[in-house]
């Protein structure tokens, strides 16, 4: 095997291992939001690695530009899709895992107007409430 083939194999195996880890995370994580995080982050890196291996193997400018386009498109669009899905999950009221520490978005969704009110007002009102209790 030549040195190029070793580099291609390294990137291919790295990407396949990342995708495998992403699928295990999708199976074993306890919560919709944790599953979404595990799947999107690791799988984006894995598919980018596999595509970089293909670009190194072919080595022409046409294929490299195609693959660069695919990678940039994936890096731009996969987080947007995950954000839309997470928003839908919050709106239909899916519960977080019971050992999750922080939940900043709880109580900010208004079911009448279908809007998320801004976090500053929540923090201000809770701070005022605690001040009032101290007084």
């Amino acid at each position: 095997m030549t040195i190029t083939e070793y580099i291609v194999l390294f990137f291919m195996i790295l990407g396949a291992l990342f995708i495998f880890v992403a699928s295990i995370g999708l199976l074993k994580m306890p919560d919709v939001y944790l599953r979404m995080s595990a799947a999107t982050i690791a799988a984006t890196f894995g598919v980018a690695s596999v595509l970089v291996a293909a670009a190194i193997h072919f080595g022409t400018i046409t294929v490299t530009l195609h693959i660069l386009g695919i990678i940039i498109f994936l890096i731009l669009t996969v987080p947007v899709g995950a954000h839309m899905l997470g928003r839908a999950a919050v709106i239909i009221g899916l519960k977080q895992w019971n050992r999750t520490v922080s939940n900043d978005i709880e109580g900010t969704y208004d079911e009448e107007t279908h809007q998320f009110c801004c976090m500053d007002e929540i923090r201000k009102s809770s701070g005022n409430a605690s001040d009032h209790e101290e007084d």
């Binding site: 990407g15 699928s23 022409t60 899905l85 239909i92």
Partner: protein, 92 residues
């Protein structure tokens, strides 16, 4: 092992096992959002399998399929999230 041997014997089986695990989550998934995440990840693994086959058969034209798959995956996920959100607003 040869170059093609490692691709056929290690990389493609790893991707196939990942696909099987994701199908498990797709059938089990407690909520619909889980199933949509699983479908999204299935298409992403499809993109990488297409890339591996392009390297295996030395055909750079096959890479174009993965470009189209990436476009379709993004559109379907966005459309699903949008309309699912709208449907739940309409029910409430």
């Amino acid at each position: 092992m040869t170059f093609n041997g490692i691709l056929v014997g290690f990389v493609l089986p790893l991707l196939s096992i990942s696909m099987l695990i994701i199908f498990l989550r797709l059938f089990r998934g407690p909520s619909v959002v889980d199933k949509v995440i699983a479908l999204d990840l299935l298409v992403i693994i499809g993109i990488s399998i297409v890339a591996v086959y392009a390297v295996l058969f030395d055909q750079p034209m096959i890479i174009d399929i993965s470009l189209i798959l990436a476009l379709i995956a993004f559109l379907s996920t966005i459309a699903f999230a949008f309309f699912y959100e709208k449907r739940n607003k309409a029910i409430k």
